[in-house]
Subunit: 159 residues, 2 copies
């Protein structure tokens, strides 16, 4: 199985996340932009995700809340910048637990022999913000999400 690669070069303010999925690009794009699909894979397995708003267009806003087993809520929101497409989806990303710390995310999907290479570059406002995100345990969330996305893409193709 292809694993997720997470890169956070020392001294930079970026996190680069890459993984290949055994699915065509349009289906992967749909899994990222259709809220009914997104809710099935985004986030760690032991949290429940509820999408409050998800307006996939230039200037459109999104917001979702993750709830853990003890009922604690974690809110996230952002704004799409430019029209989302498989070539590039650019959005801001804020965790509401630390207001004022905004990141810019760029998602690109590239098809290679029927498989899709997914690359996300998250640019933070400082090295400290970036290091804080790495220290928050984001890696578990990313790996869980990618495994769940892989399972969802397999289900969607076998249906």
């Amino acid at each position: 199985m292809v694993k997720t690669q997470i890169t956070a070069e020392p001294g930079t303010s970026q996190i680069i996340i890459e993984r290949e999925f055994d699915a065509p690009r349009d289906l992967v794009f749909r899994a990222y932009t259709d809220p009914e699909l997104l809710v099935q894979w985004m986030g760690p397995r032991d949290l429940t995700m509820k999408i409050e708003e998800f307006d996939v267009r230039d200037g459109g806003k999104w917001r979702y809340i993750s709830t853990d087993a003890d009922g604690n809520d974690y809110g996230f929101h952002g704004v799409f910048h430019g029209t989302p497409s498989p070539d590039a989806t650019v959005q801001t990303f804020e965790f509401e637990g630390v207001p004022g710390h905004v990141a810019l995310e760029k998602l690109t999907l590239e098809e290679r022999d029927g498989r899709t290479h997914v690359r996300t570059v998250s640019s933070f406002q400082s090295v400290e913000d970036r290091d804080g995100m790495v220290a928050s345990g984001m890696e578990r969330g990313v790996r869980d999400s990618d495994e769940r996305l892989e399972e969802l893409l397999a289900r969607l193709q076998n249906d």
Copy 2:
């Protein structure tokens, strides 16, 4: 006269702009957030600025167009992230001539003995994007803007 300091450390994706103004912090904040004042100082002296939208609140959008002597238009737009305040105003920034290249700007105003220290940190999505902005001649625009802001602040305090 205090000059503007522009810092772009090699290998990073940031530009840091700093300058002190002989004016109280609230007045400087008003010059940045009241469109009727902003239009009087933002941009190079030989361009005319027209503000299309300027919604100073969390999630609010702004857009302005700069027109040069030959009638060429240059559009810029962005979105405020968080409620703008003298402590921190965070916004995205896009030049419409190169769509998809988004920067995050954080403006902080600090009062020191009746003067105001203004610091803007622009975080780009890559070192290349940052270097492209430096190469675009932004320095002239920044220095012109800061001189014009200094003149405006003096006028507002002498009225």
